[in-house]
């Protein structure tokens, strides 16, 4: 396995408006393999977004190192390579769209990488097809729904041929169907294109699909493991101000009442199978 992102004792400190110094990241060691789908959870202010911004050199650490495909993010000369390898999608779709026509927006990234125009045309078409928005290529982005706009933002990243996409709460402003569109797109890119995914989210059901889940608290990684490992620790997740999927909590409550169920049920389907076995 090759490392996509590897960090060593990363610390990041900043000074708030009031002059107080805050340790946003306090010794992060994480290694994300190529092709992995990683979810990062944690309450607001736990350091998730700060960490994500280190993954493509939007922020640099005060101490420690971050390697993106073996390139040190502190190496300024490699900044464009790093940003091309690891693309980022943010929470608010309206803040990320720069052009007045969908396909021009998607072309913005490759244009800045000085890709030749024929190749740009090809990449834009492919990227729009990958997010299932090709038929909207001539539309104005302001006429699209939130989920569609986020998929355009993702297409803009894909057109840069990244190996890794970091998404910072990409579904926070979307309705249920918009959320599903975006998550399905991310899963598809991971499974079919082999793109490494780092997903930061407050929706526990989105993290259930990940290969690995990390939980942050006070700038540190406090839990990690498969979704089953992490979510089965219901009390610990709650003490960190987080949730578990509703069925996992139902399962936890039933286990407390002495019902014999496995601790690591994450989906409605698994729960149905287990309960039918008991009946």
């Amino acid at each position: 396995m090759t490392n996509m992102i590897k960090t060593e004792s990363v610390k990041h400190e900043y000074t708030s408006h009031t002059g107080k110094s805050i340790m946003a990241l306090n010794g992060i060691d994480i290694s994300i393999e190529k092709g992995e789908f990683v979810a990062i959870l944690g309450h607001n202010g736990s350091g998730k977004s700060t960490l994500a911004k280190h993954f493509n050199a939007l922020l640099l650490p005060n101490s420690g190192t971050i390697m993106v495909k073996n390139i040190d993010t502190k190496n300024e000369e490699m900044l464009w390579e790093i940003r091309q390898i690891a693309g980022m999608v943010f929470q608010n779709p309206d803040n990320q769209i720069v052009a007045t026509i969908v396909e021009e927006d998607v072309a913005f990234g490759p244009e800045n990488l000085a890709v030749e125009s024929k190749e740009i045309r090809k990449r834009v078409d492919e990227a729009l097809k990958a997010v299932d928005m090709y038929e909207y290529r001539k539309h104005g982005p302001h006429l699209l729904s939130g989920g569609q706009k986020q998929r355009i933002a993702i297409a803009g990243i894909i057109a840069m041929k990244p190996e890794c996409i970091i998404l910072d709460e990409p579904t926070a402003m979307l309705d249920p169907s918009g959320r599903k569109e975006v998550i399905d797109t991310i899963m598809k890119l991971n499974q079919e294109e082999g793109i490494t995914i780092v997903l930061i989210t407050h929706y526990m059901d989105e993290a259930v699909n990940a290969d690995r889940v990390y939980v942050m608290e006070d700038g540190m990684l406090v839990m990690d493991g498969t979704p089953k490992d992490v979510f089965s620790q219901v009390e610990k997740m709650k003490s960190l101000g987080l949730d578990v999927p509703q069925v996992t909590e139902i399962c936890h409550e039933l286990r407390k009442e002495g019902i014999k169920l496995p601790a690591d049920i994450l989906t409605v389907e698994e729960m149905v199978v287990e309960l039918c076995r008991l009946k």
């Binding site: 729904s145 709460e169 402003m173 509703q246 009442e257």
Partner: protein
């Protein structure tokens, strides 16, 4: 009667090529003290509807009554409507602007022309309702607060107007699970102890199921359903077809029933737990 909407329609950019019917013959009534959930996918007309309820938007046709007053009639003073109907927009913290928390929350009451004493009482009441300590927070700049605290201050600014009807447009968007539970808890308390009529717009079916007495489901500018949560969430296929969903507990109960294990209807974790226990234990005793 608290709110009555009669045949309300609203057309954006009427008589242009962009003409779009955002609300299409909407009628409903909300009684005093009700807790109502408003759901529908993005673009279904929810935000357009709530902006009609305090006179921010004027209907293309139809009427809106707040306590018998036709809010768009020439004789109704708009200011008195906005005092009665408090509207908390999405991401309300973007609207904070004053130098201190006190001044920000006091802005509304001040514009009502209240005296200093009453203004202070209002600010204390409002901050108390959102569980912020008056003495600790009043002199701080709202911009130095955390995201969850900023949102609370913004909501307090609306509560300081002492509205009879409180409308919140996705008050928990972007908050983490704890922040979400805290804000919803405060809204619930406000509704229970102060008998305020609440309209909650939300994309979270779990939150809606947990809190409200009645749900309005909107699609393409029309009301497709008004009923109790237990009745609405029976229609899971219809809800999915218009871009919505049902709580996971409800889905679990439905799928168990399909497999021959009927635990009845569930809206919450608590329901599911109790009903599954009941079914499993009664089987054991057979």
């Amino acid at each position: 009667m608290s709110i009555k909407v009669e045949n309300l329609s609203y057309i954006y950019m009427k008589d242009t090529v962009f003409e779009h019917k955002a609300l299409d013959d909407v009628s409903f009534e909300i009684k005093d003290g009700e807790f109502l959930g408003l759901i529908g996918h993005t673009g279904s007309g929810k935000s357009t509807l709530i902006q009609h309820l305090n006179g921010l938007m004027k209907p293309t046709s139809g009427k809106v009554f707040i306590d018998e007053d036709d809010i768009n009639s020439k004789t109704t003073v708009k200011k008195t409507i906005r005092e009665r109907v408090g509207l908390v927009f999405q991401y309300p913290e973007h609207q904070l602007f004053e130098e201190t928390v006190f001044r920000d929350v006091a802005y509304g009451p001040k514009n009502l022309g209240l005296d200093d004493n009453e203004i202070e009482n209002r600010v204390r009441f409002a901050l108390d309702m959102v569980k912020l300590d008056y003495n600790e927070i009043k002199d701080i700049s709202p911009f130095d607060l955390s995201g969850g605290q900023k949102r609370r201050v913004a909501i307090a600014g609306v509560l300081a107007m002492k509205p009879k009807i409180l409308i919140l447009d996705e008050p928990t968007a972007g908050l983490d699970p704890r922040g979400r539970d805290e804000i919803l808890g405060e809204i619930k308390e406000l509704h229970e102890t102060h008998k305020i009529t609440v309209i909650l717009v939300s994309h979270s079916m779990e939150d809606i199921a947990k809190l409200v007495d009645k749900i309005i489901v909107m699609n393409k500018g029309k009301i497709v359903f008004i009923d109790k949560p237990s009745v609405i969430f029976r229609e899971s296929l219809m809800l999915e077809s218009i871009g919505l969903g049902v709580p996971q507990a409800t889905k679990l109960a439905r799928e168990l029933k399909e497999k021959g294990l009927d635990i009845g209807e569930c809206l919450s974790i608590e329901d599911a737990k109790l009903q599954i226990l009941k079914v499993l234990r009664s089987k054991k005793n057979d």
